[in-house]
């Protein structure tokens, strides 16, 4: 709905802004909750599914920000490819499916401390830099067209380099994974 509003080029009304903010807080709440469950659950498959929720929430945030292309890429790459890879990894290896007692690392408290410290530093810096920044009222969604123009003009070198990278990774992965 927000996408449709933005696509018409009309500035967001008070109501529209209120809806966008409400959706954002809802999505953020779901994302943080799922992320916490993901690291505390004792079942690897459940952890993967919680990660799915986190990644979807990030995709939804991109939509609210009008970044269509990033949202679609997030869904295709992370929700599609990476999650399937992760679940296949769990199922095809001898990892235990179901709850495990020893999934927690013995140094989890130190890890938790580091995480809280990082949260404080990052949170402070981000709030300091962007705490009072507001999205422009006449924000337009990011079209895919200009992105493709950029990829095939300004960023043509990294784009071509990426295709070589994929080919090399393919060749190497076949050699390493091959049974001989």
């Amino acid at each position: 709905m927000i996408v449709a509003l933005l696509a018409q080029g009309t500035p967001l009304t008070e109501t529209g802004l209120w809806i966008a903010n409400t959706f954002f807080y809802l999505i953020a709440f779901v994302a943080v909750g799922a992320a916490l469950k993901m690291v505390t659950t004792s079942n690897v498959v459940h952890a993967a599914l919680y990660l799915l929720v986190v990644l979807s929430a990030v995709a939804a945030t991109y939509v609210i920000l009008g970044a269509e292309f990033a949202a679609v890429t997030q869904v295709l790459v992370y929700l599609g490819a990476v999650m399937v890879l992760l679940l296949f990894g769990v199922m095809l290896t001898r990892a235990k499916i179901g709850a495990e007692d020893d999934l927690d690392h013995e140094q989890r408290w130190i890890g938790g401390l580091v995480a809280v410290g990082m949260l404080a530093v990052m949170g402070y810096s981000l709030l300091e830099a962007y705490g009072s920044t507001q999205l422009p009222a006449d924000m337009q969604p990011q079209r895919v067209g200009p992105i493709s123009d950029e990829i095939f003009s300004t960023y043509i070198v990294p784009f071509e380099a990426l295709s070589v990278l994929l080919l090399a990774a393919l060749i190497g992965a076949v050699v390493v994974a091959r049974r001989d």
């Binding site: 996408v3 449709a4 696509a7 018409q8 080029g9 530093v121 990052m122 402070y124 810096s125 981000l126 300091e128 830099a129 962007y130 079209r143 067209g145 200009p146 123009d149 095939f152 003009s153 300004t154 960023y155 043509i156 070198v157 990294p158 071509e160 380099a161 990426l162 070589v164 990278l165 080919l167 090399a168 990774a169 060749i171 190497g172 992965a173 076949v174 050699v175 390493v176 001989d180």
Partner: protein, 508 residues
């Protein structure tokens, strides 16, 4: 349907695509290598077993062919620097010198690999294709002047290397090498990307020059400080600086030895190029954050690397730790880059050139010696002067150069580093120079211990049968010896007057 209908006018607004103007000559080194690499891959696909034994020669020819446009670009001096894509890609003297270093190093690595790969029942054709891909990443890296190009060049350089580290598939140590290298590399990439995203957020541009300008106008914000720190830490993993070095010794020991040479020389140099480009071009005004970080990284890296190298009994592990220590010397000029930016840049490039020659040479000798002794123990080098005098003399040249004894190249490389540090004329820089000097003395102990083993101590099992050295390895040793001695001898003439080179590299 209503959404689609509402999108229709927006779709109609899409602007006309303008084809970018491309300076094909400036891209020629990359394009030649790309085309040749694709050709070699197709030949391998069609030829299969019949063409397999030509693969090393073909790949080597590709690297030499790519040198031709580097030389023609260099000869058209007036057209340099060639700026492409509004400054996102730059061909200048700095990038051309580095392209030359990477291509010649890659050629020497193919020479080192050919016998090892052919005799060891590996997938050798694919190995050379991955080497070519990785070197292409290095070529792009030398010219990349924006964050996206730098990141993708870094990945193109690293990902084939992760796979090649695990190339000895039946050996658990090699599996461990590949896995450790990949996990640490991916972790580092994550940190690096986070830092880059913060930089982009602060500057709203991916080009290094624009980032420098954007921050110059405003005050340094915490967000930018974090961006600088994360970016530097990400690169510190790639160049195996202490305390981010833990992957290096295991990876170096487990990987096939020619690939270890590739990692210790070419990959590390690639990481350094990225680090130097980002620090010098994007953070010229952020030295208050970057310099102390570099100081600490440099002092820790050279000291810890040297102290652990002292205790090694395996020569590959020793070279790995000595490479870590050498990275510490190379980081040192970045601790004073705000005072002497041009000198810092040229001294690091000089060090990379000489480091590549002497370290590749040392690895060549290790590979030759392992053909006879089948061992990497330093003790197995005993008595080598009696049955392989030529190899012993060559290894002595490399060891003297690594120690920094004139007139070998390593001496001139170290001289340039000290020159940069002392020209800065600050207390911190002088202290760092003293730490580097002390470390050079420590390093002399373990380098010269190998020379002593080869010249004076008896062979461990009394076996004095000569080593058969294949022509490819002989050529690799010859090239590296010549470069090591030539750079040192030229350096003797240049002392106190290397300003031409400094100005040439720094010319915008």
């Amino acid at each position: 349907m209503s959404i689609l209908a509402s999108l229709a006018p927006a779709i109609a607004q899409t602007t006309e695509f303008v084809r970018p103007a491309i300076d094909w000559h400036a891209f020629a080194p990359e394009l030649v290598l790309l085309a040749w690499g694709a050709l070699v891959t197709v030949i391998d696909l069609i030829g299969g077993e019949r063409t397999r034994r030509f693969m090393p020669s073909l790949t080597g020819i590709g690297f030499l062919l790519a040198m031709i446009p580097v030389l023609t670009l260099w000869s058209q001096n007036d057209d340099l620097p060639r700026v492409l894509f509004d400054g996102a890609y730059m061909v200048d003297h700095y990038s051309l010198v580095l392209k030359g270093i990477f291509l010649v190093s890659a050629y020497v690595i193919v020479l080192l690999s050919s016998n090892y790969m052919a005799e060891g029942d590996y997938y050798d054709a694919e190995y050379y294709q991955l080497i070519a891909a990785s070197v292409l990443g290095m070529l792009v890296m030398t010219s990349a002047r924006d964050l996206i190009s730098i990141f993708i060049a870094l990945e193109l350089m690293s990902i084939p290397a992760y796979l090649m580290a695990a190339w000895r598939k039946s050996d658990l140590k090699s599996n461990e090498a590949g896995l450790k290298y990949m996990l640490m590399g991916v972790f580092a990439s994550g940190i690096l990307l986070y830092g880059m995203s913060l930089l982009y957020g602060a500057a709203a541009d991916t080009r290094l020059v624009e980032i420098a300008d954007a921050i110059d106008t405003g005050e340094t914000t915490p967000i930018f400080t974090l961006g600088v720190l994360f970016t530097i830490i990400g690169f510190a993993f790639k160049v195996s600086a202490v305390p981010f070095h833990t992957w290096a010794p295991d990876t170096y020991e487990g990987a096939p030895t020619p690939l270890t040479a590739f990692l210790a020389v070419a990959s590390k140099a690639g990481g350094f190029v990225a680090l130097v480009s980002v620090v010098l071009f994007a953070f010229p005004h952020q030295w208050e954050i970057a310099e102390p970080v570099m100081w600490i990284l440099s002092a820790l890296t050279m000291t810890v690397g040297n102290l652990i190298a002292l205790r090694q009994t395996n020569i590959v592990r020793m070279l790995a730790y000595s490479g870590i220590a050498q990275a510490g010397y190379m980081l040192a000029p970045l601790a004073v880059y705000s005072k002497v930016p041009d000198l810092a840049q040229s001294s690091i490039v000089t060090y990379l050139l000489i480091y590549a020659a002497m370290n590749l040479g040392a690895f060549a000798v290790v590979i030759i010696a392992a053909r006879k002794t089948r061992s990497g123990d330093i003790e197995s080098y005993g008595g080598m002067f009696r049955y392989a005098p030529g190899i012993t003399v060559a290894m002595t040249v490399f060891l003297f150069s690594l120690t920094g004894i004139p007139p070998m190249g390593g001496w001139f490389a170290k001289f340039q580093i000290f020159n940069a540090l002392l020209s800065a004329e600050t207390t911190a820089a002088t202290v760092l120079a003293i730490i580097a000097a002390v470390n050079s003395v420590i390093a002399a102990y373990y380098y010269l211990a190998i020379a002593k083993q080869m010249w004076f101590l008896p062979a461990p099992d009394g076996d004095h049968s000569p080593i058969v050295v294949p022509p490819a390895l002989m050529a690799a040793v010859a090239i590296t010896v010549i470069v090591t001695i030539a750079t040192g001898s030229v350096g003797v003439g240049l002392v106190g007057d290397a300003t031409d080179f400094v100005e040439l590299l720094a010319s915008p």
